[in-house]
């Protein structure tokens, strides 16, 4: 009986934790089928849950959030997220530099590059 309760609990816990990634996939699919501000906003909101926890931040997700908030015009927030990605995952430096070029208006990007 106790085993049954324990295994039921284990299944429930797994279900809750694993729901995060399926939500991520679905949100990404929504962007690929209907790109635009509502889909970007929803995806950025989902990613916030990860970027708020630097220690548990999976690779690429802060850069991804930065990209979408940048597209939404929130450049300062985008820069903070790009910095976080490079700090946590230095291997992302070249990629994040390319993302900054894409979403940050030219002056802002030049200012960031000037400060090492």
């Amino acid at each position: 009986m106790r085993v049954a309760i324990l295994s039921a609990l284990a299944v429930l816990t797994t279900a809750c934790v694993s729901q995060r990634w399926p939500n991520y996939d679905a949100s990404l699919y929504a962007i690929s089928t209907e790109p635009g501000a509502p889909a970007y906003e929803a995806h950025a909101k989902l990613l916030e849950a990860w970027s708020g926890d630097e220690g548990g931040l999976p690779p690429g997700l802060a850069a991804e959030e930065g990209f979408y908030v940048g597209l939404l015009g929130r450049f300062d927030q985008a820069q903070v997220l790009f910095d976080l990605e490079v700090k946590r995952y230095p291997e992302s430096a070249a990629f994040v530099a390319a993302l900054r070029e894409l979403v940050i208006p030219h002056e802002a990007s030049a200012a960031v590059k000037a400060t090492p």
Binding site: Y29, E64, S92
Partner: protein, 229 residues
């Protein structure tokens, strides 16, 4: 009789052993040990318009969880477009080394979707997929891992899903596509060794090196004593 049974048992054991991946399969992988992977847009050879998007959206999460640095799939497309690399033939013709230069990718993952046959039009309760996944080292062009199994994936059709389908058939269908594509991706990636950020990386690598060393020793023995097979 007992000897025959024993011999049969040994044969069965031998078969069970060969079912595990051949020693050589991961030699290139562990030689290069990719840390960062760029997933290229899915090459679609089917008539399904939804399938490529569904695969594209569900490939990153299992790879990240497997311990790799994955460049976010959709933003990466924009970066490549800005560099004049577009989907289709242009992408196939781009040398892998270009992706190392552009993004710092250690390896690129090419995905080709050959068939995508859903068994039911409305509820899409199952799908048969044939795909090729090929992981290529950007420095040498060597293939590090490959999977081209044909698979049948069943959906988690349930009462609530049926109700959902009646209320909004289109939403349910796209949910199903995403679910089926995710399951197909997860099934294919099962044979990909753990990445460096995965806590199993060292265990898997040590196990592989052990098996490879023993196989090499066996081969050396056979060569030095060819009559004793």
């Amino acid at each position: 009789m007992r000897q025959l049974a024993l011999a049969l048992f040994v044969v069965i054991l031998a078969c069970a052993c060969t079912a595990t991946p051949a020693v050589d399969d991961y030699a290139a992988f562990y030689e290069h040990q990719p840390r960062t992977i760029l997933v290229l847009p899915v090459r679609n050879e089917t008539t399904s318009a939804e399938a490529p998007g569904a695969f594209q959206s569900t490939i990153a999460s299992p790879l990240i969880q497997r311990g790799y640095y994955i460049f976010p799939v959709l933003p990466t497309l924009d970066v490549m477009r800005a560099e004049g690399i577009f989907e289709g033939e242009e992408l196939v013709g781009t040398p892998p080394a270009r992706f190392k230069e552009l993004l710092g990718a250690d390896a690129v993952l090419y995905i080709t979707l050959h068939t995508w046959d859903t068994s039911y039009a409305v509820l899409a309760s199952g799908v048969t997929v044939a795909m090729t996944y090929q992981l290529v080292d950007t420095s040498t062009g060597a293939t590090l891992w490959k999977d081209d199994a044909k698979r049948t994936i069943q959906s988690q059709a349930s009462g609530s899903l049926l109700a959902m389908a009646i209320n909004a058939a289109i939403t349910a269908m796209s949910t199903q596509y995403v679910y089926l594509a995710r399951e197909a991706n997860i099934a294919a990636l099962a044979s990909l060794p753990a990445g460096q950020m995965n806590r199993n990386f060292e265990t898997e690598r040590t196990r592989y090196l052990d098996v490879a060393a023993r196989a090499a020793a066996r081969k050396a023995n056979k060569q030095s004593d060819p009559d004793n097979e």
